[in-house]
Amino acid sequence: MNIYKIAKKEIVFNFRNYWVFLSALIFCVVNFVIIYFGETISGDYSQTDIRSLSLSIIHLQMYLIPLLSFVLSYDSILSEKESGVLDLILSYRITLLDIFLGKLFGNSFIFMISFCLGFFPVAMYLFVLGISFVVLFKFILVSIWLSFIFNSFALFISYSSKDRTFVILLSVFIWLFFIFIYDILFTFFAIFLYGTISADTLSFLLFLNPAEIFRLISIFYFIPYDANDLFGINVGFLSVLYIIFSMFVWFMFSIFMFVFIYLRER
């Protein structure tokens, strides 16, 4: 019940401050810009290259969703710490875990609304181009999952310090790490350890990064014939169940991270 109350509060606040509409607009505009320039570069407006368009859309979401999740949640707890509201709410019949989970579910819901609003016109355009409704629906579900994971990271960082500068820098670093640095490190190890480490281990390492899971699943959906080869590693053997299981593990990790903090603080 308390989780619901906190979630409701977050939802009401974010609707009031127009975050939902602003981020929906960002999703919509940036996606259409990518689509427009993709077609301009190919020089052929009559026949869109679905493969490269899909990859662009997937990668754009991979950058935008974590980034906007951080923007939404990085000061969610920090600002309440600064204003004294967190201490006040903790003096009520509400636990720290209620606050964490309420904010996580509330912010994830807000993000879902924002993403659905912003991505709907894009999805309609992709549907017209021939991408099936089921594929688009699954892609939206995976995007919501990714935002949930990164919202939990952002809330964790937001709670970790009272220093706003530190929180912003750490958020930027975490975003960079999962989106760029992890890729670079992964590629480095894949080349450096080529022959000494099994392909299974390397493909398993992909699942340590939720953004990579998002990319892998999305490619599975949009361009299944490309999914056999990612980073030069054969990932075609990975079953849907394996992928769903890894998504579930990340989901549970996001929640248990807060349970752990709560138990430690208690």
Binding site: K9, R16, S83, L88, L90, S91, Y92, R93, R266
Partner: protein
């Protein structure tokens, strides 16, 4: 016999770093139906004690109990349901309307259908209920802070430096509300570093210094103790006083001094103040101005701390 509620702290220790104690072996009892003031200079541990009493901090050692029931992590939520807390610093959601903020906080506190208008009226904010929080003055924001603390008629109510930002009228209103709360048997604890302000408004004073309660004083003590009744008086006369008249006054009223030839000043009790003024009138000296300051109570607090 009616049982009085009691909140007891026993051997409470609290430290941020090892050997850097904020509270040291603190034991104290707070009773229902009484307003208790916790006095101490900045850094004496008042806010930390409040955070322990609100369940935000856990003491390093020791325990606290309510009506002989030990408060632990198992029943802390029940204890919190009896609690009202007004933090020292609180910036409520500035883009929300006053009535919406209070409704939201009431909901979070577990009171969905409380008398919103009644509470706003109590703190004189009813006419401002449709304003955004950011449009309120500092004193009004503090009154809103007070309003959330009294939602649900709490059995234990804690005010951390409540009068910061209050004007004279708000202070009178605040202590009026406190009297109403304690008349229902609630435990009221407030912290302050202004002895003068709480004098006459509370029933008991605890002086906290370096994490320990160094003195417990019932308010009657102030009334029966000449040292506490002393005030700083300044009497400005129209004309310069003749030296022999000053010697006469000095002999009769010990502690009286002279400045610039026409200002009599000193630390004296209430009776001497009256007698001195009467004597000046009797001597046909014209009084231009009288100023009485109650700073001695503050000095006493500093000395005790």
């Amino acid at each position: 016999m009616v049982k009085v509620d009691c909140l007891e702290l026993k051997n409470i220790d609290f430290f941020y770093k090892k050997n850097n104690f904020i509270l040291k072996n603190l034991s104290v009892k707070f009773f229902g139906g009484k307003i208790t003031a916790l006095l101490g200079i900045n850094g004496s541990g008042k806010t930390t004690l409040f955070k322990i009493l609100t369940g935000i901090y856990k003491p390093g050692s020791g325990f606290f109990s309510y009506n002989d029931k030990l408060i632990s992590s198992d029943n802390i939520l029940f204890y919190k349901s009896l609690l009202g807390f007004m933090p020292e610093y609180l910036q409520l959601y500035k883009n929300m309307y006053v009535k919406d903020v209070l409704r939201l906080l009431g909901d979070l506190k577990g009171y969905k259908n409380f008398d919103l208008d009644g509470i706003l009226d109590t703190v004189f904010l009813l006419e401002h209920s449709n304003k955004k929080v950011k449009a309120l003055s500092k004193g009004m924001k503090q009154r809103l802070n007070l309003a959330q603390a009294i939602i649900g008629d709490p059995k234990i109510i804690l005010f951390d430096e409540p009068s910061n930002g209050f004007d004279c009228g708000s202070i009178t209103m605040f202590y009026g509300i406190l009297r109403r709360i304690v008349s229902k048997g609630s435990i009221v604890l407030l912290s302050s570093h202004h002895l003068t302000e709480i004098y006459g408004n509370v029933d008991k004073v605890l002086i906290l210094s370096d994490g320990c309660i160094i003195k417990e004083i019932n308010i009657d003590f102030f009334d029966n103790n000449d040292d506490f009744l002393c005030k700083e008086i300044f009497i400005l006369l129209n004309d310069v006083i003749k030296y022999d008249i000053f010697l006469f006054l000095k002999k009769k009223f010990l502690g009286i001094k002279i400045k610039d030839g026409n200002i009599l000043f000193g630390r004296v009790n209430n009776k001497i103040i009256v007698d001195l003024i009467l004597e000046i009138i009797k001597l046909n000296l014209n009084i231009k101005d009288i100023r009485i300051e109650n700073k001695i109570l503050e000095d006493t607090l500093v000395n005790l701390s």
